[in-house]
Structure formats: C-alpha cells, structure tokens
Amino acid sequence: MTEAPELTYADLPEGRQFPQMAYEITPELVASYVAATGDDNPAYTDDAKARSVGLTGRIAPPGLAGIWGRQAYLQGRRMPPGGILVGQDMAFMRPVRVGSVLMVQAEVLRRWERNGRRFVTLRSTARTADGERCGVVRITAIWPK
C-alpha cells in the first residue's frame, strides 16, 4: 500500500482554508467508537433510552470531534513523523444525531517558530445539514517539517 504524502509546514500558510469534508456518523462508526473507548452510553445506540433523557434519538459520541477535527485538515495526507499534539480545545453547540452527515472545514489560524520548533494552530468547524454549527475543534501541534 502506498503511504499517504506528508502535510508539511510549507503546506500550512496562515489563513489557508481546506476544502469542506463530509463526515457521516454511521451506526457502524459509533459501534467501533464504543468498542475502542469502552464508552457504552446508551444515548449513542438506543433510540428509546436517548428519548427517555430528552433527546430526539441516538446521538453521536462527542469524542468523534477529535477524529473529524483531524481528518478535516489531513484529507488523505499525513502528519510528518515526529509531530506532537501539544494542546487542544473543543466546543459543542448542539447534539448531533446518528445518521447525520457533518460538513467540516479546517483552516490554519496561526503558525510560528520558537526555539527551533515549528508550531501550527488549526481550527475545524462542523456544521449539520441545515448549516448550523455543531462543533469546533482547535489543535496546536509541533510540526516537525
């Protein structure tokens, strides 16, 4: 299998906006997430139990934000070896239903060099089908090359 090309510091000028990416919250994705994390909250998998706590149906695990937030700027490329995630923020505006397709767009907020290290801050914003924001993820990483 061919390795994905690297996304380098040179590819990340401040202000760059990446193409919007579709991210579908399928029941299979949620099942895989539950298996990996051990987070078996029935709100993710059981419509009746989700409704019993005031939701309109099953919701996506919020921890998926770390995944769509990252995929929105990588888009088939990979972080060069030696990259280090140093900080992260997440904000949630509304629950997302299982079965939804999120439209996620990433942008480069800032990049700088300090003590010979290159830092990049990226922000990914997810919207539901009606165009409303449902989540924002911001990461700062040391970008090795």
Binding site: L29, S32, Y33, A35, A36, T37, G38, D39, N41, A43, V53, G54, L55, I59, P61, P62, G63, L64, A65, G66, I67, R70, Q71, R78, M79, P81, I84, L85, V86, G87, Q88, D89, M90, A91, F92, M93, R94, P95
Partner: protein, 142 residues
C-alpha cells in the same frame, strides 16, 4: 428542564480505563490514524517513547465521556474542553483514572479541572466549561 446544581469542590464521578495494545489499535481503526508510533511495536521501540503509546484523541474521548455521563446531553449545548495538554504518554498495559473537580461555579457556568492520571502521574490536563443555564436550586424548583 432544570439541572441539579453543582458546587465548587465537587468531584465528578471518575472513570477507570485499562489501556491495551488492542484498545490502541481499535482507536487507530476508528480514527484512521495508523501512525506506527501507535501501532507498530518494533518501530515505536526505536523512538524516544521506547514503545507504542495511545493516541491523544483517545484521552479526549474519555474526557468527553466523563462530562456527558455527569451532565447529560445538556453539556453538548455550549459545553467546552479548554487548554487540554498532553503532559506524558499513555501506554498500553496501564490503568488510567479520568477525573474532574469543580473549580469555579456561578449562575452561568461551571469550570471543571480535568486530569487523566496513570500509576506514574498526570498524563493529560485541561479544563471544561459546563453551561449552567436553567440551573436552579432544589428549593426554587419545588
């Protein structure tokens, strides 16, 4: 719908997570992040970490689980994780505690100090903002 009030110093019911290489590999599959530092023991042994480590986003997922279990889906309408720092690696074979303590609270929001700790100490730190809209004391809601 009124929420149960929270108080400064209150502890969030903690989580315990056992990390194995299988767990890390499962997360690689969900996230699509197959960096060999996480999945290839031979490769990882030659790095400064000396072995595979978990993805940072796995710990973020635990923090989300902690807050959603504690506050319910209301946390997803205005809740935030802020300043999450990855202080030390999370390694397979260890058990980790995911904890939160209410550090500040007012009528609008509560600030929660978060940690993920293993046997050798803190691995992840950060804060959460929990919206407290509609919060009333028990007396006011009766």
């Amino acid at each position: 719908m009124a929420e149960v009030s929270v108080r400064a110093g209150e502890r969030v019911p903690e989580l315990h997570k056992l990390v194995t290489q299988e767990v890390i590999s499962l997360w690689a599959g969900v996230s699509g992040d197959f960096n060999p530092l996480h999945t290839d023991a031979e490769f990882a042994a030659k790095t400064r970490f000396g072995g595979t480590i978990a993805h940072g986003h796995l710990a973020l997922a635990w923090l989300c689980e902690l807050l959603l279990r504690w506050r319910g889906a209301s946390w997803l309408s205005g809740g935030e994780l802020l300043g999450v720092r990855f202080v030390a690696p999370i390694r397979p074979g260890g058990e980790y505690r995911v904890t939160g303590v209410v550090s500040e609270v007012d009528e609008h929001r509560a600030v929660i100090s978060l940690e993920v700790c293993g046997e050798s100490g803190q691995c992840v730190s950060g804060e959460a903002i929990v919206p407290m809209r509609q919060t009333r004391s028990r007396k006011e809601t009766e």
